[in-house]
């Protein structure tokens, strides 16, 4: 067995956001400026769950620690507890409403600055606002490289080898640590916690940190739902004449 390289022992930070379950019926309150959370189930953002699982796989293979961080109020604690149940060693909650991507990145960067993480992982986007900004912002704020939308990552000798999909192919790149990367769907399979994990999560440390000073850079004017989808008319393959007739006379496109 080769001796463990200092850099192989990975200190990883995984950013977790708390998002409405994918089956949620979206409605708004306060003159369409706030998402209506009544009766909504919240879950860990699915892409963040992949980032977390990959972080655990890396540290299980070569040693290290995984910290989960979220920016959110106390109502986000079930999600962060779940991250602990899945396997993160400890967790941090920045006690503030996550108003926009810039604010979230600023808060995480302020915390990460003092901790010297080798690797920071986020999801490619959160499935609520789908901004996909935090990874890039974090890289800039921390002065480290950021790599978006990775489908694989291996870490060795102080650098990471990653892949991502590009038009018509795959890109493979290596980059020195530390860096921040965002997880794409193919990164790994999400891990379901078990009872032992849930029990262990009871006693794992969850640190609550007050937010760093910051000023808002954006405000929500109004939310709007997309127009309802029109109905679908199915026409059997053998009735092509009928299709042509509809396209010609009803929809008038041919």
């Amino acid at each position: 067995m080769s001796p463990i390289q200092k850099r192989d022992f990975m200190k990883i930070l995984v950013c977790i956001s708390n998002v409405p379950d994918t089956t949620t019926k979206v409605t708004f309150t306060d003159n369409n400026t706030k998402f209506n959370t009544a009766g909504v189930q919240f879950i860990i953002n699915p892409y963040d769950e992949l980032a977390l699982t990959r972080a655990l796989e890396i540290t299980e293979k070569q040693g290290g620690s995984v910290t989960a961080i979220t920016v959110g109020l106390t109502d986000t604690e079930p999600s962060i507890r779940k991250a602990l149940a899945i396997g993160a060693q400890d967790a941090v909650r920045i006690n503030a409403e996550p108003t926009d991507a810039y604010f979230v990145a600023e808060q995480i960067a302020a915390y990460a600055k003092t901790e010297n993480y080798d690797l920071i992982l986020t999801g490619r986007e959160s499935i609520d606002h789908n901004g996909g900004l935090v990874c890039g912002l974090l890289g800039e704020m921390l002065g480290i490289p950021s790599v978006n939308v990775i489908t694989s990552i291996e870490v060795e000798n102080g650098s990471a080898t990653m892949e991502r999909d590009i038009d018509g192919g795959k890109e493979k790149l290596t980059c020195k640590l530390p860096l921040v990367a965002s997880a794409q769907k193919e990164l790994t399979e999400p891990r379901i916690p078990n009872m032992r994990g849930i029990m262990a999560a009871r006693t794992k440390p969850l640190k609550v940190v007050e937010p760093a000073a910051s000023s808002a850079t954006s405000a929500t004017v109004a939310f709007e739902l997309p127009a309802a989808k029109g109905g679908v008319k199915l026409i059997a393959a053998e009735q092509a004449e009928q299709l042509i007739e509809i396209l010609h006379n009803e929809i008038k496109v041919i």
Partner: protein, 407 residues
């Protein structure tokens, strides 16, 4: 018996499992964050590993053996038993929630877990010697071993006290000789260990742990069930089986032994049946909003609304009853008669919900495209085992009148 199944060998449905439980009276507020996390954990597991294959498994009547290890890893075997024996150390509501989520998928899967946790591990924990606990519980908890519970006999079902399976001293001071047969035993064809209830030479019922491989012990499978097709059922046949005396559980004698285990299992069944009812309701509600007849979704017709409204009313009542029973279980105050009431009510309720929900799906409800008919057939076993619908009524009747109407 094939013990090497895998998800890949079954046809995997690509229809997403959209299940969401109804919570009309905001019952979730009565659960802890941890309970909810456990629920979502088991639900995620079911949606990922079981829902895609359950229909094919049931249609083919093949026991998906590979899930034993998965259920063990997840912690579904004896979650309420102590950590020191490799179990979960959780409360009874946790146990109930797990059974509910599993039976939401299929009563057969829940049966496998109920038998292992409540009818095999629980008696070993409660009545076994320290050596027995250390030997069996951790392996059963992890799903490395599968267990079964032998009480029912061909001629003694509702009246187990009449059992004829028996053991006598082998004369070597180290063994007993076991003879007899058990019937309708869940998990038996695949079980590594069987907790068997048998009479000693004085006619006193004792629990005895029989292991696969002991000479004279066989477990023929019972075929052609129309129910619980995803769970294996079989016999236990004992032909002069030489069992070491240390396999006799020292802590209990008489019918109290098996009945104590049944209490724990019946408690789990009351949650489980609620799960299958909610799956039927959820399926029917979604279908009725999408299915258009006479120019509008069938959910818009009064007759269908009556069915949905009554289903949800019954489910909501059962949710409250079951949760309260869970609290009493946690406090050690639930009586066997209270458990009987919940088992009887919830299984009957689930059967009625399944029958009404099935009708709402019309012809579609007859096929395996939807889970309802499978639930309905499964529930015929659930209403029969662990005390039939009639027997639980007699238990309640005796409890409230003090009069025994059994005989």
């Amino acid at each position: 018996m094939s013990t090497s199944t895998s998800k890949e060998q079954f046809h995997q449905s690509n229809k997403p499992d959209q299940y969401n439980h109804p919570d009309y009276y905001l019952m979730d507020e009565l659960l802890t964050e941890e309970h909810k996390m456990i629920r979502s954990t088991v639900r995620d597991y079911v949606k990922k590993e079981l829902s895609p294959i359950i229909e094919d498994v049931a249609q083919k009547a093949v026991f998906p053996y590979h899930i034993v290890k998965q259920l063990g890893d997840l912690g579904c075997f004896g979650p309420q038993l102590p950590i020191e024996y490799g179990c979960g150390g959780m409360d009874y509501i946790t146990y109930g929630i797990m059974m509910m989520e599993l039976e939401r998928c299929d009563s057969g899967v829940r049966s496998t877990a109920s038998v292992q946790g409540s009818l095999v591990m629980y008696p070993i924990y409660k009545f076994g010697s320290e050596e027995q606990k250390k030997k069996y519980l951790p392996k059963l908890a992890k799903g490395e071993w599968l267990g079964c519970f032998g009480l029912t006999e061909p001629n003694h079902g509702s009246n187990p006290a009449g059992m004829t399976t028996n053991f006598r001293d082998a004369g070597d001071g180290k063994h007993v000789i076991l003879n007899g047969a058990k019937m309708w035993i869940s998990n038996s064809p695949f079980a590594d260990v069987a907790v068997v209830w048998a009479k000693n030479e004085q006619g006193i019922i004792k629990g005895i742990i029989v292991e696969r491989g002991m000479e004279g012990f066989t477990t023929p499978e019972t075929h052609n069930k129309w129910s619980l097709r995803a769970s294996a059922t079989g016999e236990l046949v004992f032909n002069d089986v030489k069992v070491p005396v240390e396999n006799i559980m020292p802590g209990v004698e008489g019918l109290k032994g098996p009945l104590t285990c049944l209490n724990s299992a019946r408690y789990g069944i009351s949650w489980g049946a609620l799960g299958s009812a909610m799956d039927c309701y959820d399926t029917a509600l979604r279908y009725s909003k999408e299915r258009v007849q006479f120019g509008k979704p069938i959910a818009g017709f009064q007759l269908q609304q009556k069915k949905l409204a009554e289903m949800l009313t019954e489910i909501t009542k059962a949710q409250l009853l079951t949760w309260r029973l869970g609290v009493l279980m946690n406090e050690g105050r639930a009586t066997p008669a209270q458990i009987s009431m919940a088992k009887r009510n919830n299984v009957d309720m689930a059967l009625n919900v399944a029958r009404n929900a099935r009708q709402m799906l019309g012809g579609m409800g007859i096929t395996g495209e939807y889970p309802i008919m499978r639930h309905m057939m499964n529930l015929e076993s659930v209403v029969t085992y662990e005390g039939t619908h009639d027997i639980h009524l007699l238990i309640t009747g005796m409890d409230i009148t003090g009069e025994n109407a059994f005989q």
